[in-house]
Symmetry: C2
Subunit: 412 residues, 2 copies
């Protein structure tokens, strides 16, 4: 069997998945949870092999590649949460009665076959396969090659869970064994894969977007801004800026550029920079910031366009809200922006004029997240405008169809 045969088998299996009841789909998730527990040693053994074979990877990537008993337990907690969420499939979205007697019902249905291309993070394999099953989809997976042994074990367990509940094992398949040609086959699978979701580095996503012939939902990088307005509360500013920057610097909703109104420099910026400094943050400042805060290194034009994903922060002083909006418009990746202000009119202008997936007032940018939004599960954060924008939960793995019931109507 080659990648294309696997993809075709998954497409065929998607028909059964679409008709599976909510109860059956939840039973599959329960089986996965049990199998993760009873096969923990086998999973950890495979993961150890992956870790040993990839010791040369940077520490951050190795950490993402690592499974532990606790992390497997965390996956089981997430599966329990997913089971508790109501099934979105079948939801009535619109119900229209036309004057000619036709009834049009728009109902929520699965996509059919989803493709996921992601990096070497084995927990994503379970997460995204479970979300696909919950939404009645089949899925083709292509994980990072560094996680190949672990993913092979995980996919086999998921298939066993499908089989235990009378569903086709081909509903969750991996093309990892085919290397890069597997990913290429997915990108070319027009008419088979209904939507392709790349998750990972900006480069991975760009490659998929530029080469895919099937529809893609981009999850994307975050050049995320906070604007400290003239009226910003000092405690809000310190809490929100340090949380946005340092709570988990390596993720897409972490702060990368701090903009500060000139009238907030003495009162707010200096204490904020002091707090950041104590947490190990390196400040890349414009000229004024360098003058006020000698520890700052000079910010270059490239800094404003950089997603550091590290304890670095670029800082710029602006004359006005307009200038802040202009800077955001020029450099933001349209992921998340937050204003810290007590000025209601400025808050509303910021919400209206910033063209990002999530725009905030007086809150940490770290809240752009499916779990924090209360979605229970997360596919990723969409930074495109088509289909989904912002944190993607179960609904974003569905589409709709129109059911038309008539009594012999023809068009005049």
């Amino acid at each position: 069997m080659n990648s294309l045969d696997l993809i075709k088998a998954a497409k065929a299996a998607s028909k059964d998945m679409a008709l599976a009841s909510a109860a059956t789909k939840n039973e599959v998730l329960k089986s996965i949870s049990q199998l993760l527990e009873t096969n923990r040693e086998e999973i950890l053994h495979a993961n150890k092999q992956d870790l040993e074979a990839n010791q040369n990877l940077p520490a951050g990537l190795l950490d993402r590649l690592t499974l532990t008993t606790d992390r497997i337990e965390a996956l089981r907690v997430q599966l329990a949460e997913l089971i508790a969420i109501s099934d979105p499939i079948g939801e009535l979205i619109q119900d229209i009665h036309r004057p000619n007697g036709l009834n049009l019902k728009q109902v929520r249905v699965p996509f059919g076959l989803i493709g996921a291309i992601y990096e070497a993070r084995p927990n994503v394999t379970v997460d995204i396969a479970a979300m696909a099953i919950k939404t009645g989809n089949a899925i083709v997976l292509r994980g990072g090659s560094a996680a190949e042994q672990t993913n092979q074990v995980l996919v086999a367990l998921i298939q066993e869970a499908l089989s235990q509940n009378g569903l086709p094992v081909e509903a969750v398949v991996s093309v990892d064994a085919f290397g890069r040609s597997g990913a290429t086959a997915m990108m070319e699978a027009r008419g088979l894969i209904d939507v392709l979701i790349p998750r990972g580095s900006a480069e991975l996503i760009r490659t998929v977007v530029e080469n895919s012939k099937v529809p893609v939902i981009e999850t994307g990088d975050g050049i995320v801004h906070v604007f400290l307005d003239a009226t910003a509360k000092l405690d809000y500013a310190i809490d929100i800026v340090t949380n946005s920057k340092t709570q988990r610097p390596s993720v897409c909703n972490a702060l990368e550029t701090l903009l500060v109104h000139k009238d907030a420099v003495d009162r707010v910026l200096l204490p904020v920079l002091e707090a950041l400094s104590q947490l190990g943050v390196v400040i890349h400042g414009d000229e004024l910031v360098q003058k006020l805060y000698p520890k700052a290194v000079p910010a270059t034009e490239a800094d404003w366009a950089t997603e550091y994903l590290s304890l670095d922060l670029s800082v710029k002083v602006v004359d006005s809200l307009d200038q802040a909006l202009e800077h955001i418009h020029k450099y933001s990746s349209s992921h998340t922006e937050s204003i810290i202000t007590e000025d209601q009119a400025n808050a509303e202008r910021f919400l209206a004029e910033v063209d990002s997936a999530v725009v905030m007032v007086n809150a940490s940018t770290r809240f752009t997240d499916g779990f924090e939004f209360g979605f229970g599960a997360e596919v990723g954060i969409s930074t495109q405008k088509l289909h989904a924008r912002g944190p993607m939960g179960l609904n974003e793995l569905t589409t709709s169809k129109w059911l038309v019931r008539g009594s012999g109507q023809s068009r005049a």
Copy 2:
């Protein structure tokens, strides 16, 4: 100015469009309507030049290229209808209050900059530009080169209408003057064009899908099926099949393949074929159909996969609903399918198991249409599953954004 400069100018103009009030946007549509009337002679003159320069085109395409006083009047009626529809922008989609005090509002917003690539149909220029304006978007147009003179006049009038109402003329621009390089620039305009909508032949759409680096909504071809079940009412069958096939054979929602349950052959199929024959339809039949109906020509394997867009129809007898579903699954382009039946259980199975944008019971496939669905205006029919599926109205030219209002929240 080259195509890229024009696209950039349109992107900049999209900021003003997004903030325009519903009243202002309606005033622009009113101005367009007035300008269409006061400049009718100029429009018809340009159209005459296009028609003279393209006399070698097939009759169908020449018809689509032609504007007349009546057709301009029809555009003005559509503009009046569009003005009457309420503005979708600003609509509250979800309103979530989180336990930590955060308020999350998902609101409907414009895409920003839309791209439309379509064939030589000048009425589409007005239609789609008007829908973009109504939804607060800017738009870049690339119409078929045969309509270039007409489109140039129409775009100038639309820009005059924008200008009369204080909006930037760059909100509606055409790259027609740049020929094919204009379309290429649109497909490459990542970060500038938020969504690209191709409208036209299957080949045009495939080219855009395969070459675009910006997100695309596919409007697609229709290999549309009607299934006459064993219990089909004779009058429904005759009305619906003749209407689906002959009311406008050249469009995507016209019937292409008729499937018939073997138990309905004598009672229903023969009278239906007789009615079709009187309307000039050529029957491409399987062996049984050829035997029963000597005027039928033999259907080849290629017929089942063909969108005729003409007075041709392929006809096949099946043993069961399962066999009909199998045929549809194999050959349908997932646009529209209809079952004619009195059997409620079969109707529900057909609705559930056919994976098409629109699935019907006892109705003509010609109803898959934005106006017939009551949307007032139509961008096209989406045959993909991402973002929009089926007839696309104003909502489908919008996206959403999340507005988060906090009081100093940081993530634990």
